[in-house]
């Protein structure tokens, strides 16, 4: 009779899968010694079988289990060895995908559209190559108006079929006229886009971006204008301590006209919007022009000024972007420098939403 402990020790001592297989055949193969023992059971008396049967079964089961366990161990060792040989250096760089970006002007335009959508302003557009009637005359700036000269207009040598001089729009305000003529009253629109002035220095570029707002309705007054601008600036800068200072001013297309300053603090050479400009360490900064729409303009838009009135405002988008996101050189906006775009640009996933906050924090 085989000794179970010796058999198991022999199995556990098998060094290779081949040696283990040889042992399996030796003990459990058709001609194997344990298989041979099993065959002797048939020739035994019931009493003898009662005694020998369990012993032989124990021997068979023990050997089978030991072989399985040893096989598993040996296989694991082989796999481990193979895996060890397959080691790679994961500190090597992985393939990279290029990172794109959205220009700050586009981002801020999207932010503005989001805020004004909540205030019920629809989006309107118009051509950038305008005629002088839409850009000036209809906005209460007849030909000899001194304000025309102040606009530093780019002109084309062309006239359109109505004999009007063609020019690059100096502001987004002609969209007011186009929208009034097309849609009538009441109206609540914003008109974003490129505008042009023949002006170029450290803080002015000949092309820049504006967003125009126009509300035409019944009973709209300066108080509504003030609230709208406050609500907008608070939402844009995501600060509740925005303080506005309204100053009387003059634009031919509004009456009364109001220039709007916002209070800011100087923090480490940067302007941080918030607080009253009269507070210590603070000052006022002009951010936009606005006013109640001049009745001549409402008339030019084909709307009855006796019945309808409203307000309009125009804001420089580039400056808003600079104030919010800390760029200090306007000219860099239009250079297409990829280093600048990577630094100041936004991820495609930074979609402004009211629920997530329109701004993208650092």
């Amino acid at each position: 009779m085989l000794d179970i402990d010796q058999v198991i020790a022999q199995i556990d001592g098998a060094e290779t899968l081949e040696a283990l297989e040889a042992l399996r055949i030796q003990y459990l193969g058709k001609q194997g010694s344990i298989s041979g023992l099993l065959k002797t059971l048939g020739g035994m008396s019931p009493e003898q079988r009662q005694v020998e049967g369990p012993k032989i079964q124990t021997l068979r089961e023990g050997a089978t289990a030991a072989i399985a366990a040893r096989k598993d161990a040996l296989e694991t060792a082989v796999l481990d060895a193979r895996l060890a040989s397959e080691t790679i250096d994961l500190s090597l760089p992985a393939p990279t995908a290029p990172r794109g970006s959205v220009h700050p002007i586009s981002q801020v335009m999207d932010e503005l559209a989001e805020i004004f959508a909540d205030l019920g302003f629809a989006v309107a557009t118009g051509p950038e190559i305008e005629d002088d009637w839409h850009n000036f005359t209809a906005l209460n700036m007849p030909e000899s108006h001194p304000a025309r000269a102040m606009h530093d207009t780019f002109y084309f040598p062309d006239r359109n079929d109505d004999g009007r001089e063609m020019l690059l729009r100096t502001h987004t305000s002609p969209v007011q006229i186009r929208t009034m003529l097309k849609q009538g009253a009441p109206l609540r629109i914003v008109a974003p886009g490129r505008v042009y002035r023949s002006d170029s220095d450290a803080t002015h570029t000949p092309m820049f971006h504006q967003i125009e707002g126009l509300v035409i309705d019944k009973g709209i007054h300066l108080g509504h204008l003030k609230w709208t601008l406050e609500a907008f600036l608070k939402a844009f800068f995501e600060r509740d301590d925005i303080v506005l200072r309204l100053r009387p001013s003059y634009f031919p297309f509004t009456e009364p006209s109001v220039e709007v300053d916002v209070g800011y603090a100087n923090a480490g050479g940067r302007r941080v919007v918030g607080g009253s400009g009269d507070a210590p360490g603070h000052a006022w900064m002009e951010v936009l022009g606005s006013g109640m729409v001049n009745r001549h303009v409402i008339e030019a838009g084909g709307i009855d000024p006796e019945e309808w009135q409203g307000f309009a405002f125009g804001i420089g988008v580039d400056r808003l972007a600079m104030l919010k996101y800390g760029m200090d050189d306007l000219r860099a906006f239009f250079d297409g420098d990829v280093r600048w775009a990577s630094h100041y640009g936004f991820s495609a996933l930074d979609v402004p939403t009211l629920s997530g906050g329109v701004g993208t924090p650092v």
Binding site: L119, T125, E128, S144, P146, M150, F154
Partner: protein, 802 residues
């Protein structure tokens, strides 16, 4: 408009200080651009008495002074001024003070070995005059120890931006009127002066252009003596930023600055015959006071005599008849010129002047006589002389404007409640006169507009007057009425499209650029389709023509980046391209441009050498972005004719139907690469976002119903021999269409030429995906589909490879 505080106070009785006045000016719409307080510049300078003087031991020209500063013991000061002497009172700059003239900060020092505790100053050093021959000598009663700024009566200067609607505030008196109306003092009346002449005006004055010059008043003053004007006048002009010239010229400038009333003094000796206000002859020229020659036309009003033009009316006097030191007799001109004509003439001549600025905005037509009287008096005071009677030719359009005004409009438009009594007070203090009456039980006023306010012509203007003087800060915010419920979507389809492709491009690794709308003409011409829009007055030759494509601007940006050492560029821009439209208008089309330049992938440990971009990279972007834009990508055809800007063999268009080009892409033509100075392989693409068909009908959210088929799809490979020139896309398209019920996808995976493929042919291998619907395919089903595929391909000359 700049002026000193003391000058303002000549017209305004007030105790208010500079800060209060500046704040009030801002509040009423006269924007303060700066306040210059000389007291700040003179900080640290003190009235001091020289007690003793002694020779400097080591320098002949220096003295060592002992100076009493009014506190503590005397200070030792080294001084080089020849007039320094014991007992005199002068101005001592103490250590820490900054010398206004040169910005030098004074400190205790040793001069040639002798300690000096400050500096005795000259008028030039303190920017109070030009004298630098010696130190300032103050009168004997000057109080030693006082701050010199206080003693000198330092006069702050305020710089105010005047909006173009306020000609009245281009005279200091108008500013004083506004400030007084706003409650900061009392306006002093202008003396209603009349100066009788002692002899008839000896010069004949005629108006031949009554339209351009409705009124011309003139008078001669004989026997004047010109020369420098007195200090007080020079100080005032300097505070206003004007250079004093001579008493006669300074006097006219003073009246202009004080009352906003331009006038002109001619040297009578240089006039010849009658003075005529007429139109210029076409091509007539004049040398103006700025010594430039201007060529005039028949639309321009001039003042001329028999010898020719003297004066571009209302804009600038002529060099020929200006007053000089030897002038003894003068003709004064006070005229009223038509504002529009002045504006047009000034614009045509590109000539700005103080007079033009006032005339084109509108001069008070009621101020000719008073203005002339004040000017006469001032000239007589400064230069003496005997005045003639006034020759009055024509009349200024002085019919007063009356505006009907309901005081309730202030609340309706301005959103602030101001009592009618206060409204009336404000208007009257600004010079309006109010006749109150009632209409239908509500107050209705007839408000007469003063001559100096040509800007006021309607009731809203009066609302502005009331609100700005009452205080815009008193307007309370009122929420804009809100539509019920959640805010509705507001973006236009074009805006939605623009946002979507922009973010899709950024997500694909492209960097967004915003480039100028205008280009150098040659750069624009290279991409022109028809006539360009070219500016008549560009800011530079580099910004002259409106872009007909987004690619030139992006190529220029690419070059700048490559010049800065960038190795890989993926740039895009979304914006308009500017074409010619109907009726002489523009046609501005929403476009996406992209440029891929430099390395597509850098050299890498796993990838080997750096790879360059090719036309397929451009195609990949175009197809992906068009898909995001909602274009029917699977219906697009790849066709040629991308344009002469592209490599003719490596470019294509994507079209919806034969005419509608949605995009063009490919490699940049080497000729253009050279023109734009971009090296290496450059792939470019332009997507015409405006050409993408809009969604038809109202937005619907439910998708076409779909359930994934329960049976598994199977794939079959086909390899065809086709003519080498056959576009692979054509083969894919016919195979895809061979059995629409079963074929759900066709993918080309091999394009092979060479061994085993006959010359002039190529082998294209396709993987066709078949989707069984009801039941699994049997062998005969698959055979039938294969036959359809082979038959369809055969129409293109394709032969199935064995």
């Amino acid at each position: 408009m700049k002026f000193s505080l003391s000058w303002l106070k000549q017209y305004l009785e007030t105790d208010a200080g500079i800060d209060a006045i500046a704040a009030k000016l801002n509040a009423i719409g006269l924007e303060v651009e700066g306040v210059e307080d000389p007291a700040e510049k003179l900080a640290g300078f003190r009235v001091a008495r020289v007690l003793t003087t002694a020779r400097h031991p080591d320098a002949d020209k220096l003295q060592v002074l002992s100076v009493d500063t009014g506190e503590g013991g005397p200070l030792q000061v080294v001084c080089g001024a020849p007039n320094a002497r014991a007992g005199m009172i002068g101005v001592l700059g103490l250590p820490g003070a900054t010398v206004p003239a040169n910005g030098m900060v004074l400190r205790k020092s040793a001069i040639r070995g002798v300690e000096s505790n400050g500096m005795m100053c000259s008028t030039r050093e303190l920017e109070l005059g030009e004298d630098h021959d010696g130190i300032i000598e103050l009168p004997d009663d000057a109080p030693v120890g006082t701050d010199f700024a206080q003693y000198h009566g330092a006069d702050p200067v305020i710089d105010v931006a005047i909006t173009p609607n306020r000609p009245d505030c281009m005279g200091l008196y108008g500013i004083a009127r506004d400030v007084a109306a706003a409650g900061l003092g009392t306006l002093k009346p202008i003396e209603a002066l009349e100066i009788e002449g002692t002899f008839p005006c000896p010069v004949e004055i005629r108006i031949e252009d009554a339209e351009g010059c409705p009124a011309f008043y003139g008078r001669v003053i004989r026997g004047v003596k010109n020369g420098p004007s007195p200090q007080w006048l020079q100080d005032r002009l300097k505070s206003a930023g004007q250079r004093p010239i001579s008493a006669l010229v300074d006097a006219t400038n003073y009246v202009m600055l004080a009352y906003g009333r331009p006038a002109h003094a001619y040297d009578l000796a240089k006039l010849n015959g009658a003075i005529v206000a007429r139109r210029a002859g076409e091509g007539e020229s004049v040398v103006a006071l700025n010594e430039k020659t201007y060529t005039l036309d028949a639309e321009m009003t001039v003042i001329a005599d028999q010898s020719g033009v003297h004066d571009i009316a209302g804009i600038m006097g002529g060099a020929r008849s200006g007053c000089g030191d030897d002038t003894t007799d003068i003709l004064l001109e006070i005229a009223y010129f038509d504002p529009e004509r002045i504006a047009r003439t000034g614009r045509k001549l590109n000539l700005t002047s103080d007079a033009r600025g006032r005339f084109e905005r509108g001069i008070d037509p009621n101020f000719l006589d008073t203005g002339l009287a004040h000017l006469t008096k001032l000239i007589q005071t400064l230069c003496g002389g005997e005045a003639s009677e006034v020759a009055r030719v024509g009349a200024a359009p002085a019919t007063p404007k009356i505006v009907h005004f309901a005081p309730s409009l202030v609340e309706k438009l301005g959103g602030v409640t101001v009592s009618p009594a206060e409204q009336q007070r404000i208007l009257e203090s600004l010079g309006f006169s109010v006749v109150a009456s009632e209409e239908h039980g509500a107050p209705s006023w007839a408000v007469t507009v003063p001559g100096w306010r040509p800007d006021v012509d309607g009731a809203p203007d009066l609302v502005e007057e009331v609100v700005r003087i009452h205080g815009l800060d008193k307007v309370e915010s009122v929420p804009l009425p809100r539509a019920e419920g959640v805010a509705r979507p507001t973006a236009t389809p074009a805006q939605t499209l623009e946002r979507r492709v922009r973010r899709a491009a950024a997500a694909r690794g492209l960097l967004e650029a915003v480039t100028w709308s205008f280009l150098p003409e040659a750069a624009a011409q290279a991409f022109a389709e028809g006539d360009l829009w070219v500016l008549a007055n560009p800011i530079s030759e580099d910004m002259k023509a409106m872009r007909p494509s987004l690619l030139p601007g992006l190529l220029m940006a690419a070059r700048r980046n490559l010049d800065r050492g960038a190795s890989s560029l993926r740039l895009f821009e979304v914006g308009r391209r500017y074409l010619r439209g109907a009726g002489g208008a523009s046609d501005e089309r929403l476009t996406l441009g992209l440029v891929l330049a430099g390395e597509k992938t850098p050299r890498g440990w796993a990838t080997g050498k750096a790879a360059a971009f090719d036309a397929y990279d451009a195609k990949a972007e175009v197809v992906a972005l068009l898909a995001e834009a909602g274009a029917p990508v699977d219906k697009l055809q790849v066709m040629g004719e991308a344009g002469p800007q592209f490599h003719p063999g490596q470019s294509a268009t994507l079209r919806l139907g034969p005419k509608t080009v949605l995009a063009r892409f490919g490699m940049l033509h080497p000729r253009l690469a050279k023109q734009f100075d971009v090296e290496g392989a450059v792939a470019v693409a332009e997507i015409h976002l405006d050409a993408i068909p809009a969604r038809k009908g109202a937005a619907s959210f439910a998708r076409v119903s779909y359930a994934p088929p329960p049976l598994q799809a199977v794939t079959r490979d086909f390899a065809f021999l086709v003519p080498a020139a056959l576009p692979a896309g054509d083969l894919v398209r016919v195979v895809q269409g061979a059995d629409k019920a079963n074929i759900v996808a066709t993918r080309l995976f091999d394009d092979f030429r060479g061994q085993g493929v006959p010359e002039g042919q190529k082998s294209l291998a396709l993987e066709v995906t078949l989707q069984p619907l009801e039941k699994s395919y049997k062998d005969e089903d698959l055979k039938a589909i294969s036959e359809k595929v082979t038959a369809a391909a055969a129409k293109l000359g394709a032969v199935l490879r064995g």
